[in-house]
Symmetry: C2
Subunit: 558 residues, 2 copies
């Protein structure tokens, strides 16, 4: 069979976050492969209680590891690099990234005791990394973290541009600017761009994106107008924003104190890798606590309401010897990611209770998005003139809208969600196969499958509570009539007003006294009967059926 | 001591939802009391897993029940009436409401087997209900449910206007219009308005509110442009919206099918109580399924992504014989309440996967808010000219902003959060006391205190998983070395690759064999030692410390 070019998202297509995209070229089923990005998404109480990180299930890629040439990393956001430390060991192939991104990836490798040498630092175009049938160039592009790159992937079947996350910012303050001229050259070379795999997250934002540079004046004016202590939070990786905030502090005579590990790390990696130049000197919390409040700006982590981050700690009282007071000012120079509204709201209200003035970015003065809006996406289409558009990084709604937009503009386009193998060889992209995909949960320090039932059981305990029942069966297969019941997460008493534990125990005693020998001898039957009684009594009393653990102890004759 | 006028919120002040406000007049500590509204808020997985409804803890009011004259209900939204069926029995006082609202409250009483005669139907101003020292009039006002009322409460200490939820809509389609002339009369009578207790939810929306009537044309044009089946969802209680949607369906030659119990109930109560006139005839799902898709509009519940509502069911496949197809259209004529973004997003994406075109209200064409925006709140201030403003129904941020606005306009104002007793007697409101308040959770059919620990235990099990350990101590106080362990919501194996249950059991056996008699004899010590080992082994293996239930069975000599 003829060689083919395929695209296979393992994460990021049908969701925002957890980016992981495979490209392949070769004979069907024997394509040589590269992986673009390997990110995480974050757990939430609704769907994944107790889970910190969620990452793509790479089973298919592991099974085809001998075909995998390399991993290319577009930029250093967690949803593009966060799973590398956890999953690289299963793939064991070279990683390519530019310097700043590569430094962040190396830190992740180091933390997990993995070889940092696996991370190769690549230069931007015109430098070319050749792996198997792929010639890959890093194309600098603007985003909300320095040194973001699109990937220019040349294959025997044609040229692919994989945008990664991007915006069309020509004045991004820190990091690479959007370069329409450079991109036009990419489109003009050879046969031009066959495939554009394009960021879709902001497809529903109909106004043109705004530049990071627009924030400098409003932020400076705002900082200058604040009478007391100023606190500002944003994503630590948004180094341009950190610089804008720090410059505003300096210009208004304030010293800068960075709070939160990620904040300090990003500034230091930024300086070391050279993407950040001239960041004002910072002071520690001890020194900040000694200065007059009007001479300090705290730059803190926790813009998404993270419970343990600096902003949450400050909202609850003291943090590292610093505490907020009536008349202080707190700026959220960030957008609240959908799903985090409650956590962010909690912090804002806690600050309000202290008497702190809270400012958010709702009116657009203090934040710009890092992603291309609909007109910017169209600009990308228009500059690159691809024959095929593959929308990526978006929920199904976003991918669908992007496909409709591309088709309306005369390009071929197709939705490929996680697991869909899209054949890009011809003029029309076509889903030709589906591979098993899924999610892995980092639970404590173990990776478990999202469908393993572990999290499902936790959700059930959270919704229904838990009852433990312990019974003892003696050497002669007689059940002792005393059942022990313990409840966790359940009301103590219900409809009848009597103690629920006692009621379950009493019903179980009645049952155990009259239970026939066949049931008592059979663990399965006894377990089921006990479970049913416990749930039934609870249902009658408190209107809930708890999860039940039954422990049957069988005494052995000595 | 001189008589005083007090305001005491028990719910709704420092949060959006769960409204319950007490007013009192009389000698300090002996004031006669009325309660305005008695609503619920909804549980969420983050803070209250397994809890359907949350309502105010009325302990203080129960203790002072002999001083309570009556409950007045401003309108029929769940966050104003939802707790009446659950808590009225603890108060046992007359309820006053206008007809439509009263009908909804009577349904709640009926469902709980409570006497519907307790609900008195009051007429609007100039009718006066006299209870104790309070003369209360219902002032018709506009909101997103028909027949909303502000309350005009005359007391010996002066006149109070309690807005309830309101907007300044003079063309509300269904229900009472905002009536600035009538309100101006209220302000002009006698000594005018002393206190304005005012809705604060939309204080941060800086543009003037928009009228419900503005939606008719865009909705009609939209419905007419849809080629296939049209589905629309909104709050069932927003009868004006139901009418607008139904009228648009009728005008475009579609039959209307109501899906969801709340939807049918609201339309029928609306018609019976007379607030709704001329609602187009509806058809059942059977008939709808038989008609051509272009001749049907489904009006469905579930605009907030509720898992069991009609919209969620439709997004998952079939519902009552109806199923959605590629090319159908689905309109969310509603705003997503913060916290519900994920649930609503799930449904929208599921619809997108079927190929349904999803429309939301983000551009404002298909939804208007039911609450007064900042300029509308100012209009209310300006018309009523109160001497004191008490912001209510809002999170702390909203209350704070409203206080600052009122003070900037020259009025006295004070924040009073749930439990704060605000003395309104003089010219300046002052928090003079705090009473114990809290939240009650409806869990199954039991009301539990939010601080009882039940829900805390559920959250811990959801985050950490659960382990049960059962040990047996024989007649001679010797622990049998076989401990039984069962896990729920925990990974089966971790770092070492060995089975976690076996590992915990083995560590426990080691311990039990060498445990000293003093520990074994003492339930508390034994429990603690076992718990510690189980948690430690789990921590080493999987990086998590589970919740542990220890069951110690002591065998008795016969």
């Amino acid at each position: 069979m003829a060689d083919r070019l395929i695209y296979l998202p393992l994460g990021g297509a049908g969701e925002i976050g957890m980016n992981a995209y495979v490209y392949g070229y070769g004979a069907p089923g024997k394509e040589r492969l590269i992986l673009v990005d390997l990110g995480v998404t974050f757990g939430d109480m609704d769907a994944s209680p107790g889970i910190d990180l969620i990452m793509p299930d790479l089973t298919w890629l592991e099974q085809n590891r001998d075909r995998l040439e390399a991993i290319f990393v577009t930029h250093g956001h967690e949803d593009h690099i966060g799973a590398i430390g956890h999953l690289w060991g299963r793939l064991d192939v070279p990683i390519y990234a530019r310097r700043f991104t590569g430094t962040l990836v190396r830190l992740k490798m180091e933390e997990m005791g993995l070889p940092v040498e696996a991370v190769n630092i690549a230069d931007a175009r015109p430098a070319v990394t050749q792996v198997g049938p792929f010639s890959v160039q890093f194309l600098p592009i603007s985003h909300s973290i320095p040194e973001s790159s699109a990937l220019l992937i040349d294959t025997p079947a044609g040229r692919i541009v994989h945008t990664g996350d991007f915006k069309t910012d020509v004045t991004p303050v820190v990091g690479d600017a959007f370069d329409p001229v450079g991109l036009a050259e990419v489109a003009a070379e050879g046969e031009g761009v066959k495939v554009l795999a394009c960021d879709s997250t902001n497809i529903f934002s109909t106004h043109p994106g705004r530049s990071e540079a627009l924030l400098a004046t409003p932020i400076l004016e705002w900082v200058m107008a604040q009478p007391n202590l100023v606190v500002a939070t944003t994503f630590a990786s948004n180094i341009a924003r950190l610089k804008t905030l720090a410059d505003a502090a300096k210009a208004s005579g304030r010293r800068i104190c960075l709070l939160g590990r990620a904040m300090r790390r990003m500034v230091s990696v930024g300086l070391e890798s050279g993407v950040l130049r001239e960041f004002p000197d910072t002071i520690g919390p001890d020194e900040a606590a000694k200065l007059p409040r009007s001479e300090v700006l705290l730059l803190v982590t926790g813009s998404q309401g993270e419970r343990r981050a600096a902003s949450a700690q400050l909202s609850r009282g003291r943090y590292l010897g610093l505490s907020l007071k009536e008349g202080d000012s707190f700026l959220f120079s960030s957008k609240t990611i959908p799903g985090n509204e409650r956590s962010v709201g909690r912090i804002m209200n806690a600050l309000s209770e202290i008497g702190v003035e809270v400012y958010d970015a709702d009116d657009g003065l203090f934040h710009v998005s890092g992603h291309a809006n609909r007109p910017d996406i169209e600009a990308m289409h228009d500059i690159l003139k691809p024959r095929i558009v593959v929308p990526m990084h978006g929920e199904h709604l976003h991918l669908r809208e992007h496909v409709m937009l591309a088709r309306a503009k005369g390009m071929a386009a197709e939705i490929a969600v996680n697991g869909a193998v899209l054949d890009l060889t011809g003029t029309t992209p076509k889903v030709v196969d589906h591979v098993e995909t899924g999610r892995l949960y980092l639970d404590g320090n173990v990776l478990i499958g999202s469908m393993d039932g572990v999290v499902r059981d936790r959700i059930r305990m959270a919704l229904n509570g838990h009852a433990t029942v312990s019974v003892i069966v003696d050497e002669d297969d007689n059940a002792l009539p005393d059942a022990w019941v313990e409840l966790m997460g359940l009301a103590e008493r219900g409809r009848s007003g009597a103690d629920l534990v006692r009621q379950i125990e009493s019903e179980l005693s009645d049952f155990l006294e009259r239970a026939d020998a066949r049931t008592v001898r059979d663990d399965g039957k006894l377990d089921e009967a006990i479970r049913k009684i416990a749930r039934q009594v609870a249902m009658e009393e408190i209107g809930k059926k708890p999860e039940v653990t039954v422990i049957i102890s069988r005494l052995m004759a000595d």
